[in-house]
């Protein structure tokens, strides 16, 4: 039985562009893996064919069958997390262990307010 875990510091999930996001990953496997890495990426969901872009990855050297490591990334300026009628853009951190395509993923939100931008609300509030 394999167990994978990924967590951000203080379990924080809402970030602003340019901020650093850090945390820890841990895993327990039956065999020693060949590779283990955590990736920062965004992907789209909705009606369109999915787009995925991996912005950064951190590889863990000499991984053990049962291990715990820390990670740290700097978020880029964009794109923001948003959701509309056709498209949602979701940021995520993913721990990937090979062989076997073991993966654990958590979603985070990246925007100037730290909240997902709802396209239907744009322009509704005058500042």
């Amino acid at each position: 039985m394999s167990t994978l875990r990924i967590a951000t510091q203080r379990d924080r999930r809402n970030f602003q562009p340019g901020e650093e996001v850090s945390g820890a990953v841990s895993w327990t496997l039956e065999k020693v893996p060949k590779s283990a890495e955590v990736r920062l990426f965004w992907y789209t969901e909705g009606k369109g064919t999915r787009d995925v872009s991996v912005l950064a990855q951190q590889q863990f050297f000499d991984p053990k069958a049962s291990d715990e490591r820390s990670f740290q990334f700097t978020l880029p300026q964009a794109p923001y997390s948003f959701s509309g009628k056709l498209i949602s853009l979701i940021w995520a951190l993913e721990l990937v262990i090979e062989p076997g395509d073991h993966a654990e993923r958590i979603e985070i939100t990246v925007s100037p307010t730290g909240e997902e931008i709802l396209l239907s609300d744009i322009g509704k509030v005058t500042t």
Binding site: T44, K47, G48, T49, D51, G84, I117, I122
Partner: protein, 567 residues
């Protein structure tokens, strides 16, 4: 950073029937590719063999052109020669490993002139089997032909791997979402390069070379010649039967008799019979006429040296060139889009003041599609569609004219003809739009950050008195592209519309207005399949002319943020 897109099938996996169908499709590609690779490879091996054979003196006994009625390339070079190996004399008729044939008498005659009877030359003899010999080693450039089946083999093999590896991945619950194959831009470029190369080669052979020959033949001399034979040759294939004109004629240069069968430059075999029959009737055997002979090469002759209407068929391969160039540009653009999905992301880091816009000087905004481009596109599509439809309509017309009632085909063709007429109508509409009034926009920025005020100047080009109900607004919309079956569809959804200017009667032909990009606006986003597009729209009614409906793309940049803060 790398970026990719995944087809919807990679998530849903598709049904087993779909995968089997895809596998059969890919297997057909693979099998076809391997089959042609084998045929070309086998031929290449035969061509290479004489390069290992030794050169031996030989004497030409005879050389002539033989007519072989059974072959499409009916003229064959026949050379007989003798050579001696280890005191024993051998005789051979092999010029190359395979027969030297052509549909052009002149080409074979020119080749035969290299082997005058009584001439002493070198031939290449198989040391282990001396009765095997050739006069010429075949060109090894043929080896490049091996490259052509490779894309088919690659498409077939990779397609099967993709179909079944996709099935394996989707059966797993914890598939890494970020583990995805790299963009196939390279494969697309390779695929469309084949279109481009084929198009360039065919255009050169069918149009450029014949036109060049027509120009050269202006300097050739007219020589009396006699028609030897005159007939229509038919060529059967899976696509039906095509016909070509074959008129053999003889003429004398400096006392020697020559023969040729070139009627015009760039002649091709095609489906029309009656036109070719009329040509053949003009040149019955025994008739004396004039042909044109290249003064530098008496075997090079033509019966009619002018350019003919049939040469314009040579424009058809240009479609392959257009598809090739367009496809390569598309693949490169898609690859760039997937690498940088957010326009201005680099600039966003550098902007110190959140109220500032990108440009300080005024910029002329460009409409997404110019009236000229719309017209050119409409004409191209109308020509392409109606060009194909006209072949069938011409056939139908001919059938009805000869009293053959093709009722079913006529009914079947009606919707295609209607679509063709609509396309012609749209091309005419696009032509009229070239002369319709237009709106030019200039702005103090072609991009801006949320909350920025943008100065926008508009001016009418053309007759302003014809313009009514002018409306300028700023719009944000989502665009999602997806594939269902073989069709790629893009859905749009507008999420923000900010009015800028609305006038029912356009008094002056220009004005300056200001609008503010919403402070909570999402930045522009341009991934391969999903986009957030911001644009300024200009719409207006034009009396008795096509209305104004132009879109001017405008980038909304991400907000510049403070330096990174450690969490």
């Amino acid at each position: 950073m790398f970026s990719i897109q995944i087809g919807s099938s990679s998530r849903g996996g598709g049904g087993i029937a779909g995968r089997l169908f895809g596998t059969v499709f890919c297997l057909a590609f693979l099998a076809g590719g391997v089959f042609f690779f084998y045929l070309i490879g086998r031929d290449l091996v035969q061509r290479v063999k004489p390069y290992r054979w030794g050169a031996v003196p030989c004497t030409i006994s005879s050389s002539r052109v033989i007519t072989d009625e059974r072959s499409d390339n009916r003229y064959r070079l026949a050379v007989e020669y003798q050579y001696t190996v280890d005191g024993r004399t051998y005789s051979s008729t092999k010029v190359q490993v395979s027969d030297v044939r052509s549909s052009s008498y002149g080409d074979v005659l020119r080749h035969a002139s290299r082997y005058p009877p009584g001439g002493h030359l070198k031939c290449f003899v198989n040391p282990s089997l001396p009765e095997q010999a050739v006069l010429e080693r075949s060109s090894l450039w043929f080896g490049f032909m091996l490259l052509f089946p490779l894309p088919f083999i690659a498409i077939g093999a990779l397609g099967i791997v993709a179909i079944w590896s996709g099935a394996r991945i989707t059966s797993k619950a914890a598939t890494p979402l970020s583990s995805v194959p790299k963009s196939g831009a390279g494969c697309l470029v390779l695929f469309f390069s084949i279109f481009l190369m084929a198009g360039v080669a065919a255009t050169t052979a069918m149009l450029v070379r014949p036109l060049w020959q027509v120009a050269q033949a202006r300097k050739w001399s007219a020589v009396p010649c006699a028609i030897v034979s005159s007939e229509i040759r038919s060529h059967s294939s899976s696509d039906g039967t095509t016909y070509s004109v074959d008129i053999l004629y003889r003429y004398r240069i400096n006392g020697a008799e020559y023969r040729a069968n070139r009627y015009i430059f760039g002649a091709v075999s095609s489906s029309g019979y009656n036109g070719k029959q009329a040509i053949v009737s003009q040149y019955p055997p025994g008739r004396m006429t004039f042909c044109y002979v290249n003064p530098a090469d008496p075997t090079d002759a033509v019966l009619v040296r002018n350019a003919t209407a049939g040469l314009w068929f040579g424009l058809i391969p240009l479609l392959f060139v257009i598809i090739g160039v367009g496809g390569i540009r598309f693949a490169i653009r898609k690859s760039r889009e997937s690498r940088s999905a957010v326009p201005g992301i680099e600039a966003a880091r550098a902007i110190p003041d959140a109220s500032a816009t990108e440009d300080s000087e005024s910029a002329t905004l460009k409409a997404r599609t110019s009236p000229r481009a719309k017209f050119a596109g409409a004409v191209m599509i109308a020509l392409f569609w109606n060009g194909i439809v006209s072949i069938f309509v011409g056939h139908l017309f001919s059938q009805w004219k000869h009293g053959r009632s093709e009722v079913f085909l006529t009914l079947f063709m009606i919707p295609f003809v209607v679509i063709g007429l609509v396309l012609i109508g749209y091309a005419i509409y696009s032509f009229l739009a070239l002369f319709s009034p237009r709106v030019a926009l200039t702005s103090n920025a072609s991009s801006a950050i949320p909350g920025a005020a943008v100065q926008l100047s508009w001016s009418l080009i053309g007759n302003a008195s014809k313009v009514r109900n002018l409306r300028i607004y700023f719009e944000g919309r989502e665009e999602a592209t997806y594939t269902r079956g073989t069709r790629s569809t893009t859905d749009q959804s507008v999420f923000a519309t900010i009015p800028i200017k609305e006038v029912s009667e356009v008094g002056s032909a220009s004005d300056t207005v200001e609008f503010v990009v919403p402070a909570d606006a999402i930045h522009s986003f341009n991934a391969a399949n999903n986009k957030i597009i911001w644009a300024i729209w200009v719409k207006a009614e034009v009396i008795r002319m096509p209305d104004i409906k132009d879109e001017f793309p405008f980038s909304v940049l991400p907000q510049p943020m403070a330096p990174p803060v450690k969490v």
